[in-house]
């Protein structure tokens, strides 16, 4: 385990397939944020996906093959930083179970599990990162993914990072801890229920009057921003009524000295 006293020199960055393909900017910002703290960030080129989509859909064999590849990508004893609570949760909590019948891989999964960190957790708990706010006054609202909250228990770290920004006011949405309705294949298999959930979530976020939503999970962002944009289209709005971004992007911009917003 990495204690606060042992300041890491190197980390692995596991981007997740969603960040790699849909939110590459968030990935770059997370890497830049880590590098700015004097850390060398290693991006194993062969990484793909943690395997969660197949795992939670009831296809463990298919998930295991994908997970086995990721298991082999982090040979050094460096922390593995993941800009997503649910993918980090998959690697930290489900890999050891997934390889329960494969002693060699199970041991590897357990070793990996001990050094997997969700990004905000790593920034706060390991780096003791104290962002210095260079932006102007603004109000944001934070959406924490269910996996970050309940599986990783890291909902406090995102909140702390934003709380440390002097000029940022953190708004409190109604039913904050409730799921946004994404749930991977749930959103496609039960579209009506998922739609009702995201509709309520977007309403609650907008009702805070915050100028943007930030989240440490791109799955939730895809769902929340996708619905907000759809609603804007439906109602003929040209500018987004609920802009949003990954917390890494927000933190990087707020703490960049040359930038004022």
């Amino acid at each position: 385990m990495h204690s606060r006293s042992a300041y890491p020199t190197d980390v692995y960055f596991f981007a997740t397939c969603v960040v790699d393909q849909f939110f590459p900017g968030a990935g770059m910002d997370a890497i830049t944020l880590l590098e700015r703290q004097g850390i060398r960030v290693h991006f194993p080129e062969e990484q793909t996906c943690c395997g969660q989509p197949a795992y939670t859909s009831g296809f463990p064999d298919e998930a295991r093959k994908v997970a086995a590849l990721q298991l082999s990508l982090f040979p050094n004893d460096w922390p593995v930083v993941v800009p997503s609570g649910s993918c980090a949760g998959m690697m930290k909590h489900h890999y050891p179970t997934l390889f329960a019948d494969d002693p060699a891989r199970k041991a590897a999964a357990e070793k990996l599990s001990a050094r997997v960190y969700e990004l905000t957790q790593f920034l706060v708990d390991v780096l003791n990162f104290k962002p210095e706010d260079c932006g102007s006054d603004c109000t944001v609202v934070l959406h924490t993914s269910c996996s970050a909250r309940r599986e990783m228990g890291v909902h406090v770290t995102g909140r702390k990072l934003i709380g440390d920004l002097a000029k940022v006011k953190l708004a409190q949405q109604d039913h904050e801890s409730e799921c946004c309705g994404f749930g991977g294949t749930f959103s496609v298999k039960q579209p009506e229920i998922s739609a009702a959930m995201v509709e309520d979530k977007v309403k609650a976020l907008k009702a805070t009057g915050a100028e943007r939503v930030v989240s440490a999970d791109c799955g939730c962002l895809m769902n929340i921003l996708g619905h907000a944009a759809w609603k804007d289209q439906q109602e003929g709005r040209k500018t987004p009524s609920l802009p949003g971004e990954h917390i890494a992007t927000f933190l990087l911009r707020r703490t960049a000295k040359e930038n004022t917003q």
């Binding site: 991006f43 009831g58 959103s187």
Partner: protein
């Protein structure tokens, strides 16, 4: 304002009409708002009972340990329970199926030429559809729990295991009473409505030949049946009629009396946010010589109905830890959106999704496990720490994997679809190969303009997903 009726008749093919039933509720703003309000109320009541997260966690761990300890010894405890109940004069019956349970209960009724059975709240009696069986046998079965009474008057089933009529407004209940209880004028005053119900029921407790109840905890070492309730109707059902029949699932057993207080406390605090229920009954024998009240005969029917299937598997056994508090429903974002009837099963919500497949088989329940975003709210509040999301994933696997020899569950493979399985195999092949993934993600990004604008399910309320023009790995390579 009168709320619209809950749509669709209920039946026992939950999977078949699930999406349609869910959609009807989701698209009904009145029901949406009403469920949300009710669940918010129950969540805040529970939260007020557990202000200290550490105390809550240690209580939940204790609850989990007690349930797991007792489940581990279940076969022995059942024998011990039977022997101690018998010694106390309580007659024990075993039922493997709902049909057997109904036959046992109706057999007892017929032996006593019973015309009326008055019932305390019992979800197991709902599970076996006792009221229908009794009616078919010409025996009146009257629900005496206020919520159950309302639901029975409306010819519906409970929509929540603790609050059976949570889907009903007071206006609907007022109309129901006015139309169904002779001589009752329309009133939507809640106290007046409760008094109307109580007056009807009071008379029936005296007339009834049989009192039926559920059981919350059956204590093996003492041969005691514990019953938790708030209205006093449970005590009436178990003391006033000459014969008391209790029915419960085989898992509701604890070895020692000392196991009861922690579970009772977790139950009432999690369920309704009460320190303790208004009534707690401990039934240990029929009326003894010289006693002035109590039934002359007490029976216990122990029902399996698929529980031993769950029991046989180490992971699935955790399903049986449940003490039926309903907190998982109250905290479930899906239940909150669709209410209990949409599930089409006796037990709705998260616990319903993990226990119903054992009772009804996966053929009837194959798709129910998909109705969860795996948000984990249920597992977080469960007073006995049932890992509900994990079990949902397991049930998805049991359902979607191709049927194989020696299945653990009845109906294994019922949700199998060769096309979907092939898609996951292809997905797995691509994502398990760095080269294939590189090629596939490059193509998706390069030809992003070919991404379909309509994406099943997703785009009904969201803009289409489209890969970014450059992947993260491309951006990293382009860095100066």
């Amino acid at each position: 304002m009168n709320a619209p009726q809950t749509p669709h008749a209920l039946h026992f093919m939950p999977s078949a009409g699930f999406r349609a039933r869910a959609k009807d509720v989701v698209e009904n703003p009145f029901l949406r708002q009403s469920f949300r309000g009710a669940m918010d109320f129950l969540m805040s009541k529970r939260a007020a009972q557990f202000p200290d997260p550490e105390e809550l966690e240690s209580l939940r761990r204790l609850g989990e340990r007690i349930r797991q300890y007792n489940l581990a010894k279940l076969p022995d405890l059942l024998v011990q329970l039977e022997s101690n109940l018998t010694r106390n004069g309580i007659q024990v019956h075993w039922a493997e199926t709902p049909e057997e349970a109904n036959a046992i209960i109706l057999g007892i009724c017929q032996k006593h030429s019973a015309k009326l059975m008055v019932k305390g709240k019992s979800m197991v009696s709902e599970e076996i559809e006792l009221n229908h069986a009794a009616e078919a046998a010409g025996i009146g079965a009257l629900e005496s729990d206020m919520g159950e009474y309302i639901v029975q008057l409306a010819h519906e089933k409970p929509s929540h295991i603790i609050m059976p009529a949570i889907h009903k407004t007071k206006e609907q209940i007022a109309k129901l009473f006015h139309e169904n209880v002779p001589g009752v004028d329309y009133t939507d005053n809640v106290d007046a409505l409760i008094q109307i119900g109580r007056n009807v029921l009071r008379q029936k407790f005296l007339e009834a030949d049989i009192g039926l109840s559920g059981v919350n905890f059956a204590v093996a070492e003492t041969g005691t049946l514990c019953l938790v309730e708030n209205e006093g109707n449970g005590r009436m059902c178990t003391t006033a009629p000459p014969v008391h029949i209790a029915i419960t699932g085989i898992e509701k057993i604890v070895e020692k009396l000392e196991h009861v207080p922690p579970l009772l406390s977790l139950l009432t605090r999690s369920a309704t946010g009460q320190n303790i229920s208004t009534y707690f009954n401990m039934i240990s024998s029929p009326r003894k010589p010289g006693e002035k009240d109590g039934p002359g005969e007490v029976h216990l029917v122990l029902l399996d109905n698929g529980r031993s299937q769950a029991y046989a598997d180490e992971q699935l056994r955790k399903t049986l830890q449940c003490i039926r508090c309903g907190a998982c429903m109250n905290h479930c974002p899906v239940y909150t959106r669709i209410g209990g009837h949409a599930y089409g099963t006796t037990y709705p919500g998260p616990i319903g999704k993990i226990i119903s497949p054992h009772m009804l088989g996966l053929e009837a329940t194959a798709n129910m496990a998909t109705a969860s975003s795996l948000c984990g709210a249920c597992g977080e509040v469960c007073p006995v720490k049932i890992p509900i999301p994990e079990l949902l994933i397991r049930l998805r696997e049991e359902s979607f994997t191709a049927p194989h020899a020696n299945p653990t569950m009845r109906g294994q493979g019922a949700g199998h679809n060769a096309r979907i399985s092939a898609i996951w195999r292809a997905w797995s092949a691509i994502y398990a190969s760095p080269a294939l993934y590189r090629a596939a993600s490059w193509l998706a990004s390069r030809f992003r303009w070919l991404t379909p604008r309509r994406q099943a399910g997703w785009t009904s309320v969201r803009t289409p997903l489209q890969p970014a023009p450059k992947r993260l790995r491309d951006l990293i390579k382009e860095r100066p």
